[in-house]
């Protein structure tokens, strides 16, 4: 029971969310843990909101109950807000601060700093990172998912080792990009561990 850990991962279609989640799941499997994951396919990927739910340790159902997440990992600021019903007061809220503005919406995009401020007022563990910039430093915007993956492994309650996550990454992504992705994972890890 001690290894139970639920991660809700959310963002926008096309950000590599399913790949990131699969890597965590495979790492869990390789460490001999029970793991189930739920993903969204289909229409929701045409630039819509996308989420996956990953549950490690003895769960049958792949959906995280309300307030049941140990970590909310968000690829985009306002998607963080949309994911809050999975969050409780102990949940780590890690999110990329780089916005993706939805087209043809009737509402204005809120200011990212005020999102952070409001989240901090309400939750204990709010960890904004400029993942997009860290990804570019590592070599490409496309490494954003690996930056955020690195950030997950930095949580002290996270039941998987950084090494097994890196192994699973190598098994899933082209060797040509391993070096950049390793750099991205490290920078994500450091941005949380400090």
């Amino acid at each position: 029971m001690d290894n139970r850990y639920c991660i809700y991962i959310c963002g926008v279609g096309g950000q590599g969310i399913i790949k990131t989640s699969t890597i965590i799941g495979e790492a869990a499997m390789n460490q001999g843990l029970d793991v189930v994951m739920s993903e969204i396919h289909g229409m929701s990927q045409r630039g819509g909101s996308v989420s996956t739910e990953l549950k490690i340790g003895g769960y049958n159902s792949s959906i995280i109950p309300k307030q049941g997440a140990d970590m909310l990992l968000s690829f985009e600021p306002i998607e963080t807000i949309r994911g809050l019903d999975k969050v409780n007061s102990e949940t780590k809220i890690v999110y990329n601060t780089h916005p993706i503005i939805p087209s043809s919406s009737n509402k204005a995009y809120p200011n990212v700093d005020s999102i952070t401020k409001t989240l901090k007022e309400n939750f204990k563990h709010v960890l904004p990172i400029d993942g997009t910039e860290l990804a570019m430093d590592a070599g490409s915007v496309l490494a954003l998912n690996m930056v955020l993956l690195g950030a997950v492994t930095a949580d002290e309650k996270f039941p998987l080792t950084k090494e097994s996550v890196i192994d699973a990454m190598k098994n899933n992504l082209k060797p040509k990009f391993h070096e950049m992705n390793l750099k991205a994972i490290e920078s994500g890890y450091k941005s949380i561990k400090g």
Binding site: M37, H41, G48, N60, S62, I63, P102, S103
Partner: protein
């Protein structure tokens, strides 16, 4: 994971698979020779994976023109002694049902399995129907896996069962099973290697009209045989390990009967709240395991039936209670304990159980008013047509044509169909007023044309046209119906992830294939006005629609340009914005609404990472503020 491992994987090996990938491994382990589908979410990935692996796995695989054809391909393979597999989404069963119903009568020789993926909560569907009704309607067995391991194992078992009783077997998944990922342990692979000139095995059809030709003289006894099989299979469901009691407590007052993903939610709620409730998990739910259920109920006072979509197990349980004279109270959908619609989750199941068991306390969290306000104010992010999507250009153009003809878009009925273009329902295009099913837009054109004096514009995709757009087009021509049909030929089945269709020169296994011309088909149907246009050329779009709307017959416009997501297309450079020329007319944002263009702090901004270089916005901007990139 490398997909090839689904073929090469050895028994005992474990992989972290999607439910749909697990289904493919089940098919490979079962030694299937023939597989056919029409793509539909949530079942699509089965076809995507099979299309890559078919040859390595000695399987003939095709994307059929529709589910009925896929059903027929599989049925004939099974009649010829081969193991065959067809799969679809729940609504695909409606299309396939005509042939499916009779396949239950004729029976099969080799094993035949139909996987149908239900979509509770309609993530990407037009309704929530429950495939289990088809099992009852046709009188065929149904299996309901709840996780990825079970998907693989049940698909494999379904073939054995099918051969044991010479009857097709349905495997029903739901979105959360098809799109669940979990650890799957591989089993033995049954040899299906080629015995002829193809990579797949050939069978032989032994003629026997009394078995295979349901003319009234023969069909009567077929129905008798079918019932006979079902009664025998019921003995199996009563003993099957797929229907099993999960003992979580010694207490006998309460029980749960559950299936599929609903079982998972019930299990987790009971286990993690340490409730005194045992579960009877039904993995093989039709024919209904009367005796097993009666035995489970004989020990308890109250039972919760936890199942998604229709109250099918619940009604069977009520009948079982009546037939056996039991005294058990039933809580389910019918008494309002659980909702009658939408998918379940642990919260829904927990709330239902809590109505009787009172184990949960309310744990509200107080958020600051700032957070509440923020949550209310965040912009929505609905799926939209991609940047550079040819459908957007066409919708933009048709609206101009309507305006230039002095009509109002609100006076034209837009009959839509199933595909990405249904997203045209969103503002600013508002281009979907009526939608029933695959191919319906053409029949709807016929219907509105005779029942109103309004102009009608029907839209259908290329794949959907082949699926079921042709016969209503013949109807339209012959009955002199008056509407404009647009075939949005984006050279792929886009919405389900880019599968081929008969309009492109590649088949389901990646081999070269004859391309079937939509234009020639429309001409052969007898349409006098058939035009192929490039939707990215706005002038041409407007001119053609003006012509078409002024006719009084069935006019066909084929809007032909590839979906931007097709791999290997050469991308054009993104457009440039010349700020000095922009007069802030807002047309590009509010009328074209390409997601690559937004207005940030009052200024037009092009997201160059999204822009596809389709150059439609350049034609929209009258002030020269947008120019082609270099």
């Amino acid at each position: 994971m490398n997909l090839k491992e689904l073929v090469t994987g050895v028994p005992g090996e474990k992989q972290f698979l999607l439910g749909n990938e697990a289904a493919v491994r089940g098919v490979i382990e079962a030694g299937v020779s023939i597989a056919a589908t029409y793509p539909g979410t949530p079942s699509s990935e089965i076809g995507n994976v099979l299309s890559v692996l078919a040859k390595d796995a000695n399987i003939y695989f095709e994307f059929s023109t529709n589910e009925k054809v896929a059903m027929e391909v599989a049925a004939c393979a099974a009649a010829s002694g081969l193991r065959s597999f067809t799969f679809m989404k729940h609504v695909g069963m409606n299309v396939a049902s005509d042939s499916f119903m009779t396949t239950a009568y004729t029976g099969v020789n080799g094993g035949m399995v139909i996987l149908s993926a239900d979509d509770p909560s309609l993530f990407s569907s037009q309704n929530e129907q429950d495939t289990r009704n088809f099992a009852k309607l046709a009188n065929v067995p149904i299996l309901e896996p709840s996780n990825c391991q079970e998907v693989k194992d049940m698909v494999k078992y379904a073939f054995d069962l099918s051969e044991q009783f010479n009857i097709p077997v349905i495997v029903r998944t739901t979105t959360r099973v098809s799109h669940m990922r979990g650890v799957v342990e591989f089993g033995e692979v049954k040899d299906n290697s080629s015995n002829g000139d193809n990579h797949w095995k050939r069978g032989h059809f032994n003629k026997d009209p009394s078995k295979y030709v349901p003319v009234p003289a023969f069909a009567g006894s077929m129905h008798v045989r079918l019932w006979d099989k079902i009664h025998k299979i019921e003995e199996i469901t009563n003993k099957s390990e797929l229907n099993t009691e999960i003992k979580l407590t010694e207490n006998k007052k309460y029980g749960v009967i559950a299936s599929s993903s609903a079982y998972n939610y019930a299990h987790d709620v009971i286990k993690f709240n340490e409730l005194d409730v045992n579960i009877l998990k039904l993995g093989f739910s039709y024919p209904f395991p009367q005796n097993k259920v009666a035995e489970f109920l004989s020990d308890i006072d109250e039972v919760f039936i936890v199942e998604e979509v229709d109250p099918i197990i619940e009604r069977d349980t009520l009948a079982c209670i009546g037939a056996n004279g039991l005294n058990v109270q039933v809580h389910g959908k019918l008494d309002g304990t659980f909702p009658l619609y939408h998918e379940f989750n642990s919260d829904v199941v927990g709330d239902g159980l809590n109505k009787i068991l009172n184990f949960k306390e309310e744990t509200g969290i107080d958020y600051s008013s700032n957070l509440e306000k923020l949550s209310e104010d965040i912009p929505s992010r609905a799926p939209v047509l991609c940047a550079g999507c040819p459908h957007r250009a066409m919708y933009y153009g048709i609206n101009i044509a309507i305006e230039e003809l002095g009509m109002k878009a609100s006076d034209v009925i837009f009959a839509s169909d199933i595909g990405c273009y249904t997203l045209g329902i969103n503002p600013p295009y508002n281009a979907a007023d009526y939608l029933l099913s695959m191919g319906s837009s053409v029949g709807d054109g016929c219907g509105f044309s005779v029942s109103t004096d309004q102009k009608v514009a029907s839209f259908i995709g290329d794949s959907t046209f082949f699926h079921s757009g042709i016969s209503p087009l013949i109807n339209a021509v012959h009955n002199k119906h008056n509407f404009v049909l647009t075939v949005l030929d984006n050279r792929i089945t886009a919405m389900t992830g880019g599968q081929p269709n008969p309009g492109i020169p590649v088949d389901g296994m990646g081999d070269e294939a004859p391309e079937v011309s939509i234009r020639k088909l429309a001409l052969a149907c007898g349409c006098d006005y058939v035009r192929v246009i490039n939707p990215f050329n706005l002038d041409q779009v407007v001119k053609t629609y003006k012509e078409a709307f002024e006719r009084n017959d069935t006019a066909v416009i084929i809007s032909k340009a590839p979906c931007t997501l097709i791999k290997g297309l050469t991308k054009k450079p993104p457009v440039n914005f010349i700020e000095g020329n922009c007069n802030k007319c807002d047309k590009c944002v509010s009328e074209l609404a390409c997601p690559a263009i937004s207005k940030i702090d009052g200024k037009i901004t092009i997201d160059k990472s999204q822009c596809d270089g389709c150059n439609v916005c350049i034609q929209v901007c009258k002030y020269g503020a947008l120019e082609a990139g270099r």
